[in-house]
Symmetry: C2
Subunit: 244 residues, 2 copies
DNA sequence: CAGTGGTCTAGACCACATA
DNA sequence: ATGTGGTCTAGACCACTGC
């Protein structure tokens, strides 16, 4: 079962994980095949089930396997990642108009808050000014993909809440209701982070799936900054693409 | 110690983690302050030390605390992240010429391999053609930041190994030795992943620190694709910045 | 009902740091 | 020598699945 001359890993977890990865890479197991149960693996490797569990957690975080409670562990399929082109004048809703994926955007909540230092700097407003904060859940193919938070100065969109519907698009509202030009992205930052507890449930991920966090600012031409936009996208389903 | 009327978290780990986050956010603990030991926290919360450990793992992955073996747990400072501007004609070495950071690039290994399907498609060569694969470790302020892998068709850089030194720059070699124009980035993809076991030691991170994985292609003007470039950057220290 | 993954307790040994 | 975090064993209970 195990290599007879395996290197002293001194970390049973990685040893077990490597063994499973080897099985998958050598095509001895295909996508959605069921792995031996945790108890079975513990017996075979002569370790405690807790050690097996840590190895499985490692593999889940790296998207090699997935678990179904009561059923078992399964080999994860090669992920079909959503490639998201980062273009400076286009948003989620517009991207997916040209994609063959079933796409859905759901309004989660909105609130009126006061701008703190960092936010007021980026939006070029005074600290303490009122800001609409609107949170969306974006899903593709019925599976959640990203949590997005728009922050827009109230003075630019008075009475915004009157136009927020369950499946509204901010860009659409800015154009149709407030008659702004199409906002343009001035910058994006992207970083890898671990999910916040509150987003784990929304995005249906466990705590070990990495997220791509993006912060951007959108301006209306000849008007100025209109939107501070934060995206937490599932790392296993989302890939940013920048063309030059 | 604990909230008297705390919500039933049904997950002691998150409850403990939230408590520590609260301490930090309310400024009751400052950066580099020492937390109570794991045994102490276990006593206070009336849970087993294993549960405390899982809570601490959660906080470490999110960069709220760090551990020192034999010493204790400490509040992590607000991370000074390296902001890396994604511009289409500039590489690591050139970026850091204009930064006040102490920067170092170290050649880890090189090898000559055959191109597989995906790689040959991107570099627009035949499958099986020989490719130089060169691996670097980039460090900033004495701390490792990213592992970078360059893949360059052998026919474009014959005898490359003769010019590889411990602190060489690929762009510099392409220009000075092979007299190419400065390569230009045609595209970049960025995604969040968990670290590979082999990169964990190099980058001095544990398995729960997310990585920003970037793949890009560089072309020499009027010549064509020259380099396939993969970067695994520490999520806690690296942020991508795109200006429009 | 038995088997599965998810969470937790209890206790052990190690390597490392500090006094 | 004591205390720390890091790893592991042994065993428990739960919620869920499928027979």
């Amino acid at each position: 079962m195990m290599d007879q001359t395996h290197a002293i890993e001194q970390d049973m977890k990685l040893e077990i994980a490597d063994y499973i990865i080897g099985l998958i890479q050598r095509n001895q197991m295909a996508a959605h095949d069921r792995l031996p149960s945790e108890n079975e693996l513990a017996k075979r490797f002569g370790v405690n089930r807790n050690t097996v569990r840590r190895a499985m957690d490692y593999l889940k975080a790296r998207d090699r396997i997935y678990a179904q409670k009561g059923k078992g562990l399964f080999v994860a399929p090669s992920q079909e990642q959503i490639v998201f082109p980062q273009i400076n004048n286009i948003g989620f809703s517009e991207i997916f108009q040209n994609y063959p994926y079933q796409y859905e955007s759901k309004l989660l909540k909105w609130s009126l808050v006061r701008a703190k230092a960092e936010l007021s700097r980026i939006l070029e407003i005074q600290e303490g000014e009122l800001i609409y904060k609107v949170k969306f859940l974006r899903s593709v193919q019925e599976k959640p993909l990203a949590v997005c938070i728009s922050r827009i100065p109230q003075k630019m969109v008075p009475d915004l809440q009157a136009h927020l519907t369950l499946d509204c698009s901010i860009n659409h509202i800015l154009k149709q209701v407030y008659h702004y030009e199409h906002p343009v992205c001035k910058f994006v930052t992207a970083e890898a982070v671990m999910p916040l507890a509150k987003n784990m449930k929304l995005l249906e991920v466990n705590e070990s799936v990495p997220m791509l966090k993006q912060i951007s600012r959108f301006d209306v031409p000849n008007v100025g900054p209109v939107e501070h936009y934060t995206v937490y996208a599932r790392g296993d389903r989302f890939k940013l693409d920048i063309q030059f």
